[in-house]
Amino acid sequence: MLDLTSPYLEWIGPMMPGEVFPYFFTMEMFQRALLAAMAVTIVSGFLGSFLLIRNLSLIGDGLAHVSFGGVAVGIVLGSTSPLWYALLFSTISSILIYEMQSREILTGDASIAIFLTGMLAFGLVLLRISGGGITLDVEGYLFGNLLLIDSADLDLIIMISLISLLTLVLIHSALLATTIDPLAAQIQGLPVRGIGQIFSVVTAMVVVSMVQVVGTLLVTALLVTPAATAQLIGRSFRSCLVLTQIFGFSSVILGLYLSAEMDTGTGSMIALVSAMIFAAVAISKMITSYTSAIRIHSLNEA
């Protein structure tokens, strides 16, 4: 992937502003970070739009913490790519959370909360017992560090993103139908449960691929915030999907630029920019609504 895109990135690099930011286009280590961030942004925007309307905003956060438990197991077992363990743990947990919710064993976010705290605690205890504790590597998984991504991780992230995106594109109509009215969808003959399970697996896969980009604690920033921002101004589901991509990309590019130039963590800066974009759109929407209400009021009085 890097071989394919590297010449184009190197061509764009000199046009980029800042002192450090252009390195994201010219140096291999930074190029990997940029590509991983882009791949994750595209798929997380698409996924986030569905998570939001399924009232599952917190599942990204929950699975990110579960994946931390998997990463801890991988580190303790001496794995060179602990993300595979995170993938296994998150996928199993995601399916279990879906089943518990759909069978009404636990309602709302209770099942997410149980998995979130249980697996995070499991990871922390395991790391403490093994004597490793929270090292720089582990901190990277918690808060995100794009610069930790090696070639194998990039391949895994790109592969997961492609598979997830393809699956979501394929099931998006049925997914929307089962989300809006599951009963009507079932009567139409759509496999509601199967679609829900596929969606759970895709969610787990995407969350794991995001862990190393923005970190366990900040997954929600890319998964939900751009989609929530889009919902503020979108007029149709399709327009929300497009706007989510625009806000997601803006957050990532601006976040990478600011973190490079201000020497801060990439994950936290991307999350901060994402939240600031949300705030800006929300405030401008409020001002617009307020001024149009005043205009209507004055027209009525006249």
């Binding site: 939001l52 109509s173 009215d181 003959g189």
Partner: protein, 246 residues
């Protein structure tokens, strides 16, 4: 002789250990507009869910178009308009057109990228429900009556001839209610649809349905609308004695 669409025989349903429906028998023929009325908790919605195969039955048989509920052969033959129409999440930015298009999906085309005539079905359903002017408006911005129309349009887009409606008149103003009932009447007479509607609005039903079924655990009355008993007779049927009587 008209084709039989629904045949329910000796149906009983128990939920959480309580008998909700007991020994219900009901037959509906093609082109009929049947209203199921009754008090809250009388088993109206349970009956609908049972005939759709979404609830376990204790005894009895159900056949729709000669097939058991949830049979693959029933896909695209039943249109469902739920109470949930008025509960569509307000923050979901889905337009009327997008919602109606979801009705054209089934197990055979859910992965299709091609239009395959789906847009024409959507246009037709939107035309039939008179929603052309608001087809690109988010459903959340519509009035209660328009929302119900949008959900009916979704059911029509499935091209089903048997439409089931669960309390579609709840939460909508009288004008919208009348226009909705006119729409259902038109679907029945002009399009030949068979309609089974659950409602607690007895007045509205007695002015629009062909036949009324009064359900309170079991069927207390089943007959043409004009023969529906007055309040005293209905109270007798329900076993309610006159407290202030002589």
């Amino acid at each position: 002789m008209k084709k039989q669409i629904l045949d329910v025989c000796d149906l009983s349903v128990v939920r959480s250990g309580k008998v909700i429906i007991r020994d219900v028998c009901l037959t509906i023929n093609e082109g009929e507009f049947v209203a199921i009325v009754g008090p809250n908790g009388g088993g109206k919605s349970t009956f609908l869910l049972a005939i759709l195969g979404l609830l376990k039955t204790r005894s009895g048989t159900i056949e729709i178009y000669g097939h058991p509920p949830m049979s693959r052969k029933l896909h695209r033959k039943i249109g469902w308009v739920s109470q949930a129409a008025s509960y569509l999440p307000k923050d979901v930015k889905i337009t009327v057109r997008e919602l109606v298009k979801l009705g054209t999906l089934h197990s055979g085309n859910m992965f299709d990228f091609l239009d395959s005539g789906r847009n024409e079905k959507v246009n037709q359903a939107i035309r039939m429900t008179g929603l052309e002017a608001v087809q690109n408006t988010p459903v959340a911005r519509l009035s209660g009556g328009q929302r119900q129309r949008a959900v009916i349009a979704r059911a029509l887009a499935t091209e089903s001839d048997f439409i089931l409606l669960d309390e579609p008149l709840v939460g909508i103003d009288p004008e919208s209610r009348n226009s909705l009932l006119k729409l259902l009447d038109r679907l029945c007479h002009e399009q030949g649809k068979t309609i089974l509607m659950v409602s607690h609005d007895l007045t509205a039903m007695s002015r629009s349905a062909h036949r009324i079924v009064f359900l309170e655990e079991t069927i207390r009355f089943d007959g043409p609308t004009w023969s529906f008993p007055d309040m005293d007779k209905l109270a007798d049927l329900r076993g309610i004695a006159n407290v202030h009587g002589d």
